[in-house]
Amino acid sequence: MQGVMTPADIEAAQHLQHIHETPKSFVKHYVFSIDHKYIAKQFLWAGLLFLFFGGMLAMLIRWQWAYPGEAVPVVGNLLFPDTQGAITPPTYNTIFTTHGLIMIFFAITPIMIGCFGNFCIPLMIGARDMAFPWLNLLSFWIFALSQALVLASFCVELGSAAAGWTTYPPLASQVGTPGLGQSLMVLALFVTGVSTIMGAINYITTVIRFRAPGMTWFRMPGTVWGLWLTSILNALFVPVLGSAGLMLLFDRHFGTQFFLTGAAGGTGDPILFQHLFWIFGHPEVYILILPIWGFVIDFMSFFARKPAYWFRGSIYAMITVTVLSAVVYGHHMFVTGMSPLLGQAFMLLTLVISVPAEILFLNWLHTIWKGSIRLTVPMLFGLGTIFVFGLGGLTGIYLGTISTDLYLHDTMFVVGHFHLTMASAAFLGSFGALYLWFPKMYGRLMNPFLGKVHFWFSTVGLTLVFGFQMLAGYAGQQRRLYDPFQYSYLEGLQDLNRFTTYCAFALAIGQLAFVYNFFYSLFAGKRASQNPWELGTIEWTDCASPPVHHNFDRIPVVYRGPHEYNHPEVLEKLGRDWIGQTEEFDPAADAATSDEVAATA
């Protein structure tokens, strides 16, 4: 149906989605809400809570590496009364294991995908809600159940999971970790996977079917693209983790031997688990970065007040990465004795990913080049994301090359690498997003000064902590050691480790600026106008802050892309450097371009 976007098309779009009455009962409004904006907030709170939890666990790990076996100050006696506050080796295993799992699955995922996926997608594409609001509700509450399972795993005998976040058998079998906590954690992963898949189905469908008239694929903001591609990876690969988790649970409790062999008693194949885990696991790392890339594409353009440089190129690059991410997982298994030919293939494919990554990078730099940069808090966080991600991405090349990975594998270098890429970039990017969309979510502004304090502590802190970790790894320190300095060849690294720990503590203290700012702004921040950042995407131009229950009285009509800044004609006619996606500028010209637009009416 090529052609002009007719009034009939626009009218038809109005009827596509119901307007639901604003719920009146407390439970329907605040507990079992089907409003995507409210579910987003639920995910945000759930995620922030576990982010705090995971962060505290990280501090314990850092303490252990600075002062192995010494009593933890302040909270030690409370947490480990049996040992006068010292961390024992089994407890240490639990701490680093649960830190990783909590951060990835129960903190970053809900904040980045659960919260911003829910909040941004419908508003930015001009939809009244998700395609399946009830599924959305279910998705959150199943996620809450999985968090409850995580908490429960800490309360059983022998404590929570302790086999590393990768949960490799035989360590993750009944022989290595006999406690119920390990099983509860695997179950929690399975349950959270169900929730993730539900969310993914919702996001993908919503983007495909509920774009407002005129919202063509390439008029969608980078944010929506990132979240959409991530959802595709989620829908495809989380089920594989689910299968692996089920098999592991069967091995642990129902007498099967999928992964058990040798002393664990069986004829199974522990490497099989690694395959299944990384078939999921490598896409998972891109699941956690694609939305961030999307945010960064948008933030650079929003605050350099320039169109995003080669926007299509960036999108194609993201699509390429999405596809490639499915075929490189073997680089996590170079040392498992895989056939050298297969290893070479995985190495090649892995290194090929740097090409699209490079395109994205150059596009970001081009976008801010000679821009009228506004160093707002979200912009700073965006720039910080680019910086830490750049460091992390470059170090990936050393790991992706077999000859260097043989040495670097399972050292702190890997830990530094993935914390810069996955942890730091996702952390900074998500906070940037929170600073940007907070006014739209809660109708109040956050304090920019405290935001900047938070930014500097976070970016410098993350860079130093994980930079030093890579240094330690390069010097030979293996990951996950209880007391690295019991090995004489690592004794010399004690000072480095201590200093890293101080940096980590500073990083943690800097988060207080956010905590204060968040709560203060929530209740007493200045009221936000509809469009405080002067942006052109739909949620700012067509929705109040915060938006009404059904988002739009009339579904808006989209005339242009998301990054129209400093267009000379707009400057001249309207006297401002931005124009909304839904603003009719020159009716004749807008109608003429709608040929290409009609696709989505």
Partner: protein, 229 residues
């Protein structure tokens, strides 16, 4: 509430023609994505099956293996019986298609009839699986061919004892779970259709799920039953 509150309606939605998706409904797109996702969970299991089988010295401890290695005797799968189940499932896909096309041409009664047949075939398949596992219908089976059919469990195929047994139970039970949910889903749609709360789109979506379950079974049948030891 705005003037557009009039747009609020709870009947089936009519989707505007779209250059890319025509009148494809959100429900249909969502089901397709779910099926892809679900397909990957089956692939996880089948991959495990393939790797374990490839790494095993023997697959199923039959008479000769038992004689040679002293392993506990295991039964072979009954291919003929399972082929019958496969046929039943394929029939159910056919009735599913007929039901949908009947509804599209306005024949609600016919649609209900064929949807009912689909449900019945699904139940027959489940009964077949029960017989295969537990010998639930041994009496009946005996009456048909005079043979002895106590079910695989009684014949020594014990979950957890070997990969041969474990992968068989995991994968067929996972599929059986899908058939069970499919039968429940079909029954709900049948009821909704009967009460005029469903349309051809609803039936088409449940049909997608049902055909998927059927397709997966054909793969399972091929991999688990047909590939010779």
């Amino acid at each position: 509430m705005s003037a557009d509150a009039a747009a609020h309606h709870d009947g089936p939605m009519v989707y505007p023609d779209d250059r890319l998706y025509a009148k494809t409904t959100a429900g249909k797109i969502g089901m397709w994505i779910f099926l892809l996702s679900d397909g990957f969970s089956f692939s996880g299991l089948l991959l495990g099956y393939g790797i374990l089988r490839g790494g095993s010295d023997y697959w199923g401890c039959f008479k000769e293996q038992a004689a040679e290695l002293g392993c506990a005797l295991e039964p072979a799968f009954g291919i003929n019986f399972t082929a019958l189940l496969t046929f039943i499932l394929i029939c159910s896909s056919v009735t599913m298609v007929i039901s949908h096309s009947a509804l599209e041409s306005g024949d609600k009664k016919g649609a209900l009839k064929y949807l009912g047949l689909t449900i019945m075939f699904g139940l027959m398949f489940l009964c077949g699986q029960a017989q295969e596992y537990f010998g639930t219908f041994e009496y009946f089976m005996h009456a048909v061919d005079g043979g002895h059919h106590p079910g695989l469990i009684a014949e020594g195929l014990v979950f957890g004892s070997t990969h041969y047994a474990t992968t068989f139970y995991c994968i067929t039970a996972f599929h059986g779970l899908h058939v069970t949910s499919g039968v429940i889903y079909l029954s709900l749609v049948w009821r909704a259709l009967y009460l005029d709360k469903a349309d051809a789109n609803t039936v088409e979506i449940v049909g997608l799920f049902w055909h998927f379950v059927d397709l997966v079974w054909i793969l399972v049948f091929t991999f688990i039953y047909l590939i010779p030891s």
